[in-house]
Subunit: 325 residues, 2 copies
């Protein structure tokens, strides 16, 4: 089959492409053609045995979506988005990329008669906003408190509507915060969740801007790739008209994270975490979800790690041991 | 103050304009300027003492929204929409009018520096889709099962987002099914809810296409006008970031409706209702909400009728007795 990844230059898109290149498959299905698209030219996954293409294009510009779907890929993984901070800073850009880009993609699909591809839509926990119950259920109402969350929720509604009409076959996946992100720290308020583990594991200092009792919902990059793969091949008749699913994750406090780091890497590594309270970051993080009751995705076979120990081990296996080989 | 009604040629828009013309006020606030806009030229509410304007324009066309808000009305009541059946039959028209039209309005407001009008946004129970609990709570999740419902829910998300950013001061009101609608029957699946009362009260036969145990959520046109008036002047700081409210109504079965008609108008009038089951209509109506627990709107002072007796009396007072005068 033909898989198109839009947003393939991002961390998750790249990892998903690498996995396809390695295995030649998504789930049990062989991949013959792999098209990677992003606003910057994505890596072409050069070790892929099938036909591979790379495209640099802006999904929100006229004609881009039409060109991307012209060959009728069987599976479209739509990861392209302006992230939370930028969507909040630039309202027009956020709505243009996150809403109009998504709509352009769905409409380009709709305009091809008889073409009903699987569309895996990357949504986010940001569709939910405080106040929250202790464990957020699958049917918690959409109450975003950021423009990014509003745009992602609007995309979920379109995904449901277009799927209900038989115009595409959508699965929305609300990603947990991905931890441990490889690479450099970024300016996201959530950056420290990865940083306090990644930097010490690489022998450098990290700053912890919040209390150790802050609780949040995490899954590894490897789990995130598994979610996409599952969503790409699952039986969508099981979803009914509610196409978006909160993904499983590990509910852990920062203290839980640090204890797992201590037990795996020892006290010297933990001492590289410097506590430096930042009230701005603490205030942002206070509005974030802490825990979910993920019945639907569990029942459908989606799996994340069981503990933060596993999340750290995934990072060591997938990033550090690979780097050293 | 200056009140702009968009969708002023519709039944509710017209009644709201008539009430302003009669009283010169919205709530306790004097209205100096009343602008009525619709895609067809609205009635100019000729008995209004203040300055009155009427505009025929398509909100979804470039420039219309900008022209409508150029004078910076203090209150904008946005009732313009493609209704459920048409939005389902014509996907592009529904998204263009219901989503793009709403967005064009919000963006036109956003582009005027320092202008933060009250925006009353007409939403709908169609933002909710089955399966339902017996009583649908205020925080039930957005699960539309029609394109109309999806478009209205997307508008709610934008209303929340733009209000949170301080770009406008929004209140979304999810109208119950309005009963008894004056005038002729229309092709909406819900038309019979009004028809089985209105036609017999006017001495003509009406068709009932569903069982008498069908339950639904109703309020009168007078109550609907009251909702808008309340939303136009209420203290929105009480809403927090969740700007849309399910409106109060009367949960009644068709049997309750008929019993009220019998008690008010007598058995001969009731005999004008002809039972003629229509499985298509029955199937549509089976997916509709039956009852709500409307805590937020009640606490904020929104009020509908207490029973179907009151709903029928409102029709007699506002339509039949007026017509005879």
């Amino acid at each position: 089959m033909h898989v198109l990844i839009i947003g393939a230059a991002g961390m998750i898109g790249r990892k998903f492409a690498e996995k396809i290149a390695l295995t030649g498959r998504v789930g049990q299905r062989n991949v013959d053609v792999l098209t990677l698209a992003d606003i910057v030219m994505p890596d072409v996954a050069s070790d892929f045995a099938g036909e591979r293409r790379a495209i640099a294009a802006d999904l929100s510009l006229a004609g881009t979506a039409k060109a991307l779907v012209a060959d009728q890929p069987d599976v479209i993984v739509h990861l392209a988005a302006i992230v939370s901070g930028e969507a909040e800073a630039d309202l027009e850009k956020g709505y243009r990329i996150n809403l109009d880009g998504t709509r352009a993609l769905f409409d380009a699909i709709r305009h091809i008669d008889g073409y009903v591809p699987r569309v895996v839509y990357a949504s986010s926990l940001a569709v939910f906003g405080a106040p929250f119950p202790d464990k957020i259920p699958d049917d918690f109402h959409l109450t975003p408190l950021t423009s990014y969350g509003a745009q992602k929720a609007m995309g979920e509604l379109m995904l449901d509507d277009y799927s209900r009409r038989g115009l595409l076959d959508g699965v929305g996946i609300r990603f947990p915060t991905i931890c441990i992100r490889p690479g450099k720290p970024n300016k996201a308020a959530s950056s420290f969740f990865s940083g306090i583990l990644r930097e010490p594991l690489n022998g450098t200092e990290a700053v912890l801007p919040v209390d150790e009792n802050v609780r949040h919902w995490h899954a590894s990059p490897r789990a995130a790739v598994g979610f996409i793969e599952q969503a790409a091949v699952m039986d969508t008749t099981l979803l009914g008209n509610r196409r978006s699913l909160t993904m499983p994750g590990v509910s852990a406090t920062v203290g839980d994270q640090i204890k797992a780091l201590h037990d795996i890497a020892g006290p010297d590594v933990v001492r590289l975490i410097r506590h430096e309270p930042n009230p701005d970051i603490a205030a942002i993080v206070a509005g974030w979800p802490r825990n979910f009751e993920v019945k639907r995705a569990h029942a459908l076979g989606f799996r994340a790690e069981a503990s933060f120990y596993d999340i750290i081990k995934v990072y060591i296996e997938d990033e550090l041991e690979v780097d050293k080989s």
